[in-house]
Amino acid sequence: MKITYNWLKEYVYFSLSPQELADRLTSVGLVVADIKPVEDDFCLDIEVTSNRPDCLGITGIAREVAAAVGGSLHFPETPFVTANTEISKFIDIAVEEPILCPRYTARVIRQITVGPSPEWIQKRLKCIGLRPVNNIVDITNYVMMETGQPLHAFDLDKLTEQKIIVRKARSGEEIVVINGARRALFHDMLVIADGRRPVAVAGIMGGKETEVSESTRNILLECAQFEPRQVRRTSRALGIASDSSYRFERGTDPEGVDRASQRAVKLVKDYAGGEIADGAIDIRTGRHETKKITLRMERLHKVLGVEIKRDVVIDILKKLQFNILNDIGNFIDLEVPSFRGDVYREIDLIEEVARIYGYNNIPTKTSITVRGSAKNKYEIVEDTIRQFLTGLGFYEVKTFSIVDISPLQSVNLWSDRVGIDIANPLRQEESRLRTSLLPSLINTKRYNVAHGTEQVKIFEIANIYLAGNKLPQEKTCLSILADTDFLTLKGIVESLLLNLGIPLKQEWTGFNESRLFMDKRAASIQMDNTALGYLGEASRELGFKTLSCLAEIDLNLLIEKSNFAKKYQNIPQHPPVFRDLAIIVDEEVTWSSIEKCITETKAAFLKETNFFDVYRGKQIPAGKKSIAFNLCFQAPDRTLKSEEVDSAQQIILDTLHKTLGAELRKA
């Protein structure tokens, strides 16, 4: 809402500079975003919150100034003389939708002269960014800016059958509005019609055919109240918004309608001449009911945390034009003025008092009770992962949850169902909730490569969205992209699991997802028969120049399985015995089957089995490989004898031979 400094001064007395005025308005909730000197005046751009339509007129802002600084208000008088002819001679008005149009007033002025409006009106309109059109249109705009009440002038002679009907649009009807837009109208839209067709979309914009032009002689001045939700819905449906719809949507003052009409008629008479038909048409359903509220002083103190004196409270409410009915004791009964539709509860009054009293005059208390707070498991796991990965040189990234529908972005490792689409996307590029974080990490790598960083190690912790019943399942994932080989990233993941207190009992099995991974170089990771995640070498099709690996892990499962309880284990007093062995097995034999076989022998004193090498070469027969590993034997209470280790080792070798056909490789 733009106003000018001098224009405001017409309605309220104050002695503040434009900057002081701006500061004061800001402190009561009318933020002045900008002050611009314009000719001999200043234009103030005020941000009016959606609950305060009363401040969408300069007189409304004047009321706030009066309350804030105490100056007196003086709104313009509107005396005018009418001709003898009754308005009913010229127009017949019917309101078919009284709920959507609670009040409709009309006045007729005849024999006017349409021309430019006076200099002072033009200047003020220009100051606040409105383009002067002609005296009639400018006056309706001027009065709207002054009072916050929109008005519309019709060319009376262009209304067929001398009729105005406020009704719903009929199917097939359409209208060309003043700004030139043609719109089809639908049955749930309220229109102002003449005897034949809609001549305005109620509260939003008048029609082109009946607008005031240079040849207009007689006008009908509409000033009405429309139901806010109806205006809002229609405005959105038609894609037409105006200064008028902006105000009606937020709610106008039901008692301000006729005053604005009279003010406009007076200005028309003064600056366009003509004669005013006698009387006005004012069709109204019921009276505006004045709201009565009781404010309890005790409640005010409780909510604000400060004891404001009763007479201070009453003074503030009076200045805001609340009508005090009763101010005995600790209760204040009052009536709410018609222009304050936003005030209907005790809490609304408390806010009014606090606003004018000044938020900055309310003390800053530090008396809330002491309460301990500990990190929850989710936070502990997240923190541990971030600390671990950044310590290893990984950068955390954050990428968009809404992605495109390309094949890469459609990757879903966790479910067969497709991703969830946004019903009203802004662009194709952001139209679906992602089902994997990896495509975004791949794009992040591409971005960095394109900007000169060839190698990246990145991770993200974020949700993916899997189709569910009512709401989707939001699965929090940890996804990693690293320019390393498979075993390096696998090792990082394994260390991470150990760091979270999760033993390495996962099953790794071959997995295919050609959009992400190299064929036969990826694995799915199962833990307790649940998918923990996926890890593999990035597909060459992705076009990276470095060997990259990708992993996506279910963070919720990590949190569930993580265990930070620790118990001290005695450090072994007796030295371990190590044995390095190399066995020759068929290519198909996996390390995990060897390890499992060794563990299942339950060989005496075997503490650890550590893989260290796989070798294929001249000395090894085709179709076979040599696997070297290290066995660690240890007894808690003594040093082992080599015969004991020998026999355990022999049992292991025998079992490996029997189960997997393994042969000990001779040195």
Partner: protein, 338 residues
């Protein structure tokens, strides 16, 4: 007997070929010269021999021991000297750059969220989370924003279906927590939110918020000011001033926008604070009675306050970042600065 001695020597010579590390050499030493090593095992044989042969065999073992010791110690020396380079006569340049390990970084937005969580944890606030894809009820109705309310214009939203949307604010978490718990409540809820804004230097269709909520008996606006003042001093510094301005949010009443004195110009006015000396950092207010009613709290008994802040905005202010898109491009040259 001599065969055994010869065999041990041959075995050793064979094994040394495979040794390539200090650790390996040391293990070899234990194997041959340790208490249960091969040489000691031979020593144990001496008492079993006829008396006249004992001396000669003992001498042979000792000779073998010296030989083995020489070989193994030689190895140990060799690998030790590789681990610790020889001191040479060249001038050692202490000014050469250190070999820096490469460290990664938490995303700057994570750092801000962590700092905010830390500051509020000291005031007894727990961390809570809620879904990003939400029922319209939690994003609007329960927060006192009925459909067709003019303030809905301020909350443009991505929809999935009629009554399912992407939350446009983290205030949704307030309702979910209050539905589950009775007062007292003290939480902060960080997370992603979504609004259909065209991306430019100042707007993003996805950004992060941190929501705070405290509900208890006897909580007042003065307490809200106290808590936020504590937070601002902890997070932005002791010299930063705070200012409350009346504003409007459907879910709080009275509502306020909170400004802090511009840290860049110290309140004198610069382009960051639009020459006002103040920058807006959060919205706050007393929980609206209609919100308490929606979660079946007794609004006469309990009062509370809520606040919300934009993580990107605070991070941009803190580091002087002018373009919000940098957070989502994830250029390592950007990420490595924080």
């Amino acid at each position: 007997m001599l065969d055994t001695l010869e065999e041990i020597k041959r075995n050793l010579q064979e094994e040394t070929k495979g040794i390539s590390t200090l650790k390996g050499a040391e293990q070899l030493k234990i194997k041959y010269l340790g208490r249960n090593g091969g040489v000691n095992d031979l020593m144990k044989l001496i008492p079993t021999l006829p008396v006249e042969k004992r001396a000669a065999f003992g001498q042979q073992i000792n000779a073998l021991k010296i030989e083995i010791t020489d070989i193994i110690e030689g190895l140990i020396k060799k690998f030790s000297s590789e681990a610790i380079p020889k001191v040479t006569s060249e001038i050692f340049d202490v000014t050469l750059p250190g070999k820096r390990p490469s460290l990664g970084k938490r995303h700057p937005l994570t750092q801000t969220i962590d700092d905010i969580k830390e500051a509020f944890a000291r005031l007894g606030f727990d961390v809570a989370y809620g879904p990003e894809v939400e029922l319209e009820y939690y994003n609007f109705e329960a927060l006192n924003i009925p459909s067709d309310h003019p303030s809905r214009t301020d909350f443009d939203t991505f929809y999935i279906k009629d009554d399912i949307l992407l939350r446009s604010q983290t205030s949704t978490v307030q309702i979910r927590i209050m539905e589950k718990q009775k007062p007292p409540i003290r939480i902060i809820a960080p997370g992603r939110v979504y609004r259909p804004d065209t991306v430019d230097a100042r707007h993003s269709f996805m950004f992060h918020q941190v929501e705070g909520l405290l509900v208890d008996e006897g909580v007042s606006f003065a307490d809200l000011k106290g808590v936020l003042n504590q937070f601002i001093k902890t997070y932005f510094g002791q010299n930063i001033q705070m200012r409350f301005r009346p504003s409007f949010f459907p879910f709080t009443e009275p509502s306020a926008e909170v400004d802090i004195s511009c840290s860049l110009c110290g309140g004198k006015g610069c382009n960051v604070c639009s020459y006002s000396g103040w920058v807006e950092i959060l919205g706050a207010g007393m929980v609206d009675p209609n919100v308490l009613k929606a979660v079946h709290y007794d609004g006469e008994k309990y009062t509370g306050f809520a606040f919300g802040m934009g993580v990107e905005r605070i991070t941009m202010l803190k580091y002087g970042i002018c373009d919000i898109r940098l957070f989502y491009e994830n250029d390592i040259r950007f990420l490595s600065q924080f």
